[in-house]
Symmetry: none
Subunit: 209 residues, 4 copies
Amino acid sequence: MPGAEPAPQEPPTTKGRSTRQRLLSVATDLFAEKGYARVRISDITEAAGLSQGAFYRYFKDRRDLMLVLLQELTAEAFDFVRVPRRADDPMYSVLRSTQLYFEFYDRHRALFGLLVELSQTDPDVAKIWAESRRVFYSRIAQSLRREVRARRLRTDVDVTVAAELMGSMTEFYAFQRFVLGDGVVKDVSLDESARTLAEIWTAGLVRPA
Amino acid sequence: MPGAEPAPQEPPTTKGRSTRQRLLSVATDLFAEKGYARVRISDITEAAGLSQGAFYRYFKDRRDLMLVLLQELTAEAFDFVRVPRRADDPMYSVLRSTQLYFEFYDRHRALFGLLVELSQTDPDVAKIWAESRRVFYSRIAQSLRREVRARRLRTDVDVTVAAELMGSMTEFYAFQRFVLGDGVVKDVSLDESARTLAEIWTAGLVRPA
Amino acid sequence: MPGAEPAPQEPPTTKGRSTRQRLLSVATDLFAEKGYARVRISDITEAAGLSQGAFYRYFKDRRDLMLVLLQELTAEAFDFVRVPRRADDPMYSVLRSTQLYFEFYDRHRALFGLLVELSQTDPDVAKIWAESRRVFYSRIAQSLRREVRARRLRTDVDVTVAAELMGSMTEFYAFQRFVLGDGVVKDVSLDESARTLAEIWTAGLVRPA
Amino acid sequence: MPGAEPAPQEPPTTKGRSTRQRLLSVATDLFAEKGYARVRISDITEAAGLSQGAFYRYFKDRRDLMLVLLQELTAEAFDFVRVPRRADDPMYSVLRSTQLYFEFYDRHRALFGLLVELSQTDPDVAKIWAESRRVFYSRIAQSLRREVRARRLRTDVDVTVAAELMGSMTEFYAFQRFVLGDGVVKDVSLDESARTLAEIWTAGLVRPA
DNA sequence: GATGAATGAGCATTCATTCAT
DNA sequence: CATGAATGAATGCTCATTCAT
């Protein structure tokens, strides 16, 4: 019981809150730039224009800050999957939500990068990522089930597995493009990729008339 | 004394070669267990029953050892994609090579884990992984093209993109299962997954009669 | 601006005085509980329900506070040794003042603990303790001399040394019981100890008839 | 389980053992000079002519080294109390063992100082000191009981308490002289003190004829 | 009088790496 | 070939202290 409590989630003053936010923000940038392993506390505080000691008013350590970032990501995530479908165009909602997903991934590429870098090393990160995928996949599965009920999809395929595969593909493709920065093989526009992706999925899943 | 070279690729004596091999082997296990970032040189030498200093007779540093491992992986990789197809059953070769891929991935899960953990941080690793994916994807693309020529596949889809998506899905699914150790959502046998995967792809890509 | 004095002995307002007193009081408790070395300023202010900064309105630093406490102790100390003796019972006054000493020590155990912990390190504390012992011992020596004059004590023993030994024994015994919290070997009531102590001393010092 | 085991008790090579010994030795001196709290690891290694890092090959931290010192002290301690008594001179053995005790205390004054400084702060040190006192006191009690059986001592006094008091006095007197460096009040030779001490004890405890 | 923010020196500790034996 | 000792740079973390509000 070494005294002063670890680090309050929300500083009482405006200045405090803004400083904490600044630390989170510059840390995100640094993680994106050099990867988690190569960012020192002093890098973060320096970039935030603070002394080293200031860090510890807001976070227990570097890992603590990182977990905060990832939890914020998870909290926000994946509402976009709910896209109104069009009765006439079953492909539309798949395409649209894929696009939205790519946008979201792009905007938070730094944090998705962290999930991937650290999941093998840090069990808590692994848990966060697993949970985020679980949510993602079950949203997809839900959509698929709706389509199955509407008799627009094949029924001879395990919906859960299909959702996982679809999600895997989407996420990993995003990871390659936005985090690793690949083209991937030849430069294909993101929209084109999303379209091909949607096309394959729908063509493969939609029950032949 | 023209300067003893730092770390010979192949030690002259039998004992030396075996020691080097032991280091590579225990390091692989440790990387699999804790991830690259958390494995110290001393962990490796301790697990190998050696003193710390011994490490440097065989490798320049931890990264050197790791790159050796990854290069060995790349050298061996992806011949299995060449599976003879059966004229009557276009799904067969997809299914078979997916299974072979999963087996290969499982056997080398530790090294695939390294690729993922380090690609954002280490350009050389990124290059190795990119190359490995490039090979993998173009093998798939090649197969697809063959099928297109044989008029068994849709022609309205970009084969390159399709191959990337197919590869992404397969690789990431393997990563989740073998490296992260997920079920994923519910426990599905690997074979079942491979089958669903193949099914979707073929159903989606095969031109409707 | 001739420089605001660092820490006024007596704050002007009632609130100020009470806050200062609270700091002294909780600090005493904390010192008793964990020893001086393990108590941080933040521990003290936290226990007092104040912010860290508030401390410096009242004390220069932790050592300053501690010296205030010890000086208060010294100011109060050792009047109790003056116990009216009874002509018929020379043991009575020894016993009585030993009991009173134990009570006093018990009440201020935290501060006596400070004296012991810090005397080797802090010359000022050493001085305070030395002075306190000097007073204690000379009070005892004075008593002894009175008894010698009254021909109730052996005259072949150096009174000064005897007083020191007697004092040493009493103080250290108290230290063990009240600060270290020992039994000591078997659990003996404090009164019994005081009685044995007095008995030995008188029996040893009183001139055989 | 962070790898390399904490610190081997006995280094395998002569050089290692001598280095470890040097660290223990200079640390003892530094503790004596400045007190435990003020000695940094770097002080110790510097005095030993080593780099900071070398320290951790032999000890987990400063506290670990200190406990080793105190355990060595305890292991060695208090055999000297066994002094052959002389039938004709009951005072002799008391005097002699007191002298031996003083010599021992003087030689290890630095470590006895540690016991006193740290007992209130560190439970393990408290335990070591308590144990050392227990041994010391029970040796004295044993002696006293022998004398009681030989009918040379008063029987109306609790031997255990008497032993504790006698030990307390002796130890604390030594502490004042050798650690605090007091005279105490006036400068009295150590031998004279020991003599007075023995005299009082014997005169007080020996049964009047 | 009191607070929360910020500072910065101080220090322990880790760990890759070198080297004599 | 292997070991144990030693190095020293890197870095995290603590905590007394100052200060604007």
